[in-house]
């Protein structure tokens, strides 16, 4: 019972949180996640290219 009142209290209150990521139906979260994947792919491509270059030099 106590818990329920507490949650209700929290839900009713307009608590200031980091709302930037939650606006527009949380679409920004999806943007950040896809950017993480995209940039790690770029980094991976870049590293592979560097590795091939170094193999080329050693040969």
């Amino acid at each position: 019972m106590m818990f329920n009142f507490f949650t209700l209290f929290i839900l009713l209150q307009d608590v200031a949180m980091a709302d930037a990521m939650r606006s527009n139906g949380k679409i920004f979260v999806v943007v950040v996640i896809s950017l993480i994947i995209l940039f790690s792919l770029f980094l991976y491509l870049y590293r592979i290219e560097k590795k091939i270059e170094s193999i080329k030099k050693n040969k």
Binding site: I27, F28, V30, L38, L45, I55, K59
Partner: protein, 214 residues
């Protein structure tokens, strides 16, 4: 090509942010999946571009016999077909939630599948011949042929009958009405970005092929 990598990173970063955030036309059935336009269609554009380069290098190999052209044409075809497979897979998921099934008998779907199968034939043909110059000549001729098959399969035949794809089945001159300026704002940068990504990957793979050759 110095500008490929920075421009590719810039354009794709733009695509993956603006693609989700910019406003899109609200259409029934499509809903938010209209944003898949920014990812699904550039796959095909990239495939066509890389396969065009591939058949161009095949043509160059046949005319001057430089083995580097054969290597390049094989490489571009390889990466191009990868993008084609991605186009098929993304299109299947999109079709499931808008047209109702993963695969319909849409002429564009069957045409692109046949086109990809022709290219699979190219790889099998290549791997079955050991002699280098013979392999280069035969597969180059086949490659030019398969690109000229791809054009009617993907661009001409779907227009002759009805197709679920917008802009097909009828006069392509009316395509202007299928896409509005909001979509173009992300779509064209996305196409260029993915083409540059394809070029980047082919560049890396070509270096690897050259290393293997030595």
């Amino acid at each position: 090509m110095r500008f490929i990598k920075p421009l590719c990173i810039l354009l794709l970063t733009y695509t993956f942010t603006a693609g989700y955030l910019f406003e899109v036309p609200a259409l029934p059935i499509l809903n938010e999946t209209i944003r898949a336009l920014y990812l699904h269609v550039p796959m095909w554009f990239t495939m066509i571009f890389l396969l065009l380069l591939s058949s161009f290098h095949s043509y160059r190999y046949v005319s001057n016999g430089d083995i580097l052209h054969d290597m390049k044409s094989y490489n571009f075809a390889h990466i191009g077909v990868y993008f084609g497979i991605l186009g098929l897979l993304t299109g299947m998921v999109w079709a499931r939630y808008t047209w109702g099934t993963f695969w319909t008998n849409d002429p564009k779907l069957n045409g692109s599948a046949i086109g990809l199968l022709i290219y699979f034939g190219y790889f099998i043909l290549r791997s079955s011949i050991d002699d280098e110059s013979k392999r280069g000549k035969i597969s180059s001729v086949y490659n030019v042929f398969s690109f000229s098959m791809l054009i009617p399969l993907i661009f001409i035949l779907p227009r002759l009958t009805d197709s679920l794809h917008p802009g097909n089945g009828g006069n392509p001159g009316f395509n202007v009405y299928d896409m509005n300026s909001q979509l173009r704002l992300v779509f064209y940068p996305a196409v260029v970005g993915f083409i540059l990504l394809g070029l980047w990957i082919s560049e890396i793979r070509l270096k690897m092929l050259k290393l293997n050759q030595k």
